[in-house]
């Protein structure tokens, strides 16, 4: 079988923070259209891995390739061009609180906008239809002119997703997008992410604490444990034993 070129490729990647090794010798490939779940206990290195993928962190060892480019070899301009194709939804939202929703959504397009256009839009919002369309896709179109910090946590999460929609990237990375949501909202957000990926054939990489969602919404699960890949398999191959192994406390080893 002839596989397409991978979207991401990690070659023996390690990430060191001082003495501490957050990721050790990770090698993996992610292909277009895959929906990958990253699971693992707190501190396993999920967020770190996602940061390596979107180019905000440079690996201390090994190579990270995205869309056929070695991220550590790129000039900052080239890197930005790659990054425009990668949309990230963060664990702690990372929105600019005191801007109105419309601007936070429009921020998804900043990679393409000129300075003048961006400046004008802060005064008289531009491309509002695009933003409102994205917001109605996540179900909060009526909040478009609200100040972002006045929204609830779940609504802010949707703003973050709407921003990625507007950015229209090839890949969506999501770092625990449902960590602060109730079960009902969690399901909605996960459905939204899955549909987004399926309908437009985007690649989705999402870190999760909830293994059930990983099974139901993704077609590949990568288990991280203390910075190493413990398993990397399709949902039906991930047995309860493997999961138990993943979350086993360190002292019981």
């Amino acid at each position: 079988m002839d596989l397409p070129a991978p979207v991401f490729e990690l070659k023996h990647v390690s990430q060191q923070f001082g003495q501490f090794s957050a990721l050790t010798d990770i090698s993996l490939q992610i292909y277009p259209g895959e929906r990958v779940a990253l699971v693992g206990s707190s501190g396993a290195g999920k967020s770190t891995l996602l940061q390596l993928l979107n180019g905000t962190l440079r690996s201390t060892q090994g190579e990270v390739w995205a869309m056929g480019r070695n991220l550590s070899q790129l000039s900052s301009k080239r890197l930005r061009q790659i990054q425009q194709q990668i949309g990230t939804i963060y664990q702690q939202l990372h929105l600019v609180d005191n801007l109105r929703v419309i601007h936070n959504v429009n921020a998804g397009q900043l990679g393409r906008w000129s300075f003048l256009k961006a400046l004008t839009s802060l005064i008289v919002p531009l491309e509002t239809e695009t933003a409102i369309k994205a917001l109605s896709q996540v179900g909060i179109a009526e909040k478009v002119y609200e100040r972002t910090d006045r929204l609830s946590g779940g609504q802010q999460q949707r703003v973050a997703i709407a921003r990625v929609l507007v950015q229209n990237p090839i890949v969506i990375l999501a770092d625990e997008p449902i960590a602060s949501l109730d079960p009902e909202l969690s399901r909605e957000v996960m459905d939204l992410l899955r549909n987004l990926a399926q309908q437009t054939h985007r690649t989705l990489i999402v870190s999760l604490h909830d293994v059930d969602f990983a099974r139901s919404h993704c077609d590949r699960i990568i288990g991280l444990r203390q910075g190493k890949v413990l398993f990397d398999a399709a949902p039906h191959q991930v047995s309860p034993d493997l999961i138990a192994d993943l979350y086993r406390l360190e002292s019981h080893r």
């Binding site: 940061q51 979107n54 180019g55 905000t56 440079r58 900052s76 890197l79 930005r80 061009q81 790659i82 990054q83 425009q84 194709q85 990668i86 949309g87 990230t88 963060y90 702690q92 990372h94 929105l95 600019v96 609180d97 005191n98 801007l99 601007h103 921020a107 998804g108 900043l110 990679g111 906008w113 300075f115 961006a118 400046l119 802060l122 008289v124 002119y145 910090d149 950015q167 990237p169």
Partner: protein
């Protein structure tokens, strides 16, 4: 589109600035006096060859020590006043005694008057009573600073979470015990942090007080400026820079050790603070006390104030005489006061506009987390050969230090080399001095800013200029504006001190009436000035609240 509070206040601010500019005569009269340019040039050239002769260095050293001693003693007494006043004027203190009365509001109101009058006016007043005794300088700092500290302390106490206190009270502890075991420890770091900030302010005030003859660096600077000895002047300037720089640095370092990152918290939405590990914090407290006590003892020894004058019979006589000669107030000057009041407000508006703008420009290069290697807006990470950001950092910090270290009246005298007297030179002088303070506060805001929203923008490939526009600016602006509004209140009080050197406004009348012993008019002018300060405070507080 609806009119948001920020748009509304922005327009009001803009209108105020334009009106003030018109008031300052920008559009009509001659402002610049180019005859003074050679003198200004001589003054600037002298900065590269200051006078380092041994005798002058000795004088400089003594003067520096005097200024430091005034500041230390002044801070000490205002801290004592501040603690007592702060506790007594806090709502929570009376609450823990089960007093439903509004007594605290009354005392709070009573403290507003001493706060509104600038140290320099207090100084001029006490010079009339005690002459040029060090006591004059200390008391002149203590009265307004004590009142300000009391106000801020009471606010800190009232804003500290009360739950633990209530739990202790409800479980039958005596109110005093409950207060000391719950509220004070919680509020302690904030109180301490503010004390450091007050000390930085005291240093600057001590220098200003020199100008009325109280000795120290301000006095020496004033003398050499008047006698055109610019080489000596710069020696004193450099001493002042070093003193201010050292105090600011050590205060910042101490606050960082104690884990309180911001020197004065204006109670906007609380940003997530980085907490220092608790055990480190505790170890340092013990060092702090003996060191400050030793410093205090040294300072008292150096200036040796004559405290007996405080309760001497002569003091009482002179005070009584003052009261008698000030009554009844003389309202005949009121028609002349009104245009002066308008001038004063215009001067304060222009000063704060100038310093907010300048501070904003300098704050970004002065912050250590943006353009330096590894900083968010550094465009070529990895390649650290570029030294430009470091140079900009040092340069902008040096400018900020120079601006705030030189007292406003001295700036005024320098500006008057090339400008005709009026409110514009006064505003520029005040603006320059406050620019140094605001720029530093703003740089701190930038350094403490939550970086994550900016990283998110960066991660999607946003260019630096747009990260700035969509991230940095909106995130930091509310704090900038709040600090500027707060500083506007201070500028308003400080208009008095540039009035002293002829910059116009109510300050000029105040100082004239003080030195000609015209106390009956003085009382009226002072009353007008107080009303004006309260008005400005009210506008500033209203704006800050609606912009929150």
């Amino acid at each position: 589109m609806t009119v948001t509070p920020s748009l509304k206040w922005g327009l009001i601010g803009l209108a105020a600035i334009v009106l003030s500019l018109a008031q300052a005569g920008l559009f009509q009269q001659d402002l610049f006096n180019l005859n003074g340019a050679p003198l200004l040039w001589k003054f600037i050239v002298a900065s590269v060859h200051p006078d380092f002769s041994p005798e002058l260095l000795q004088t400089t050293f003594n003067a520096t020590l005097t200024t430091l001693a005034y500041a230390v003693c002044g801070t000490f007494f205002s801290l004592i006043l501040g603690i007592i006043g702060g506790v007594l004027t806090s709502e929570v203190w009376w609450l823990s005694f089960g007093q439903p009365s509004r007594f605290w509001l009354l005392i709070r109101g009573f403290l507003a008057a001493p706060r509104a009058i600038h140290e320099l006016i207090w100084g001029l007043f006490f010079v009339n009573i005690w002459g040029l005794d060090p006591l004059t300088a200390i008391v002149a700092i203590t009265i307004p600073f004590g009142a300000i500290t009391a106000k801020v302390f009471s606010e800190i106490l009232d804003e500290t979470p009360r739950q633990p206190l209530l739990i202790l009270l409800n479980s039958g502890f005596s109110p005093l015990t409950a207060f000391f075991y719950s509220l004070l420890p919680q509020a302690f770091l904030n109180l301490l942090s503010y004390t450091f900030y007050r000390f930085e302010c005291s240093i600057r005030s001590a220098a200003v007080l020199g100008i009325i003859g109280a000795g120290g660096l301000g006095y020496e600077i004033f003398l050499s400026l008047q006698s055109l000895r610019y080489e000596q002047l710069w020696t004193f300037f450099y001493a002042l820079f070093i003193l201010n720089g050292l105090v600011d640095l050590s205060s910042a370092w101490l606050r960082r050790q104690l884990g309180c990152s911001s020197r004065l918290d204006l109670n906007l939405q609380q940003t997530k603070k980085k907490q220092a590990p608790k055990d480190i914090v505790r170890r340092r407290y013990f060092l702090l006390l003996p060191v400050s006590l030793a410093l205090l003892a040294l300072c008292f020894w150096v200036i040796n104030p004559d405290f007996s004058k405080l309760w001497a019979l002569r003091t009482q006589q002179l005070l009584g005489q003052f009261v008698r000669s000030a009554l009844p107030p003389d309202f005949s000057e009121v028609p002349r006061l009104i245009p002066q009041a308008i001038e004063t407000v215009s001067m304060s508006v222009l000063a704060i506009a100038f310093s907010a703008f300048g501070g904003l420009l300098l704050a970004f290069p002065a912050a250590n987390n943006f353009f330096l290697p590894g900083g968010l807006l550094n465009s070529n990470p990895g390649k650290s050969a570029n030294l430009l950001p470091q140079i900009m950092l040092l340069l902008s910090r040096a400018i900020l230090l120079m601006c705030r270290a030189i007292p406003a009246p001295i700036w005024a005298l320098v500006v008057l080399f090339v400008m005709f007297p009026g409110i514009l030179p006064g505003a520029i002088a005040l603006g320059l001095h406050n620019l140094g303070i605001l720029g530093r506060l703003m740089a701190e805001v930038i350094e403490n800013q939550d970086q994550r929203p900016l990283e998110a923008l960066k991660a999607q490939g946003t260019p630096n200029s747009l990260i700035f526009l969509y991230g940095v600016l909106p995130l930091t602006m509310p704090r900038f504006v709040a600090y500027s509004l707060y500083r506007w209140e201070v500028c308003m009080r400080e208009t008095v001190i540039v009035g002293l050197v002829g910059a116009g406004g109510l300050g000029r009348s105040l100082t004239e009436q003080l030195s000609s012993f015209d106390y009956r008019s003085l009382i009226v002018t002072l009353g007008g000035f107080l009303m004006l300060t309260f008005l400005v405070d009210w506008v500033s507080a209203t704006a800050r609240r609606s912009l929150r």
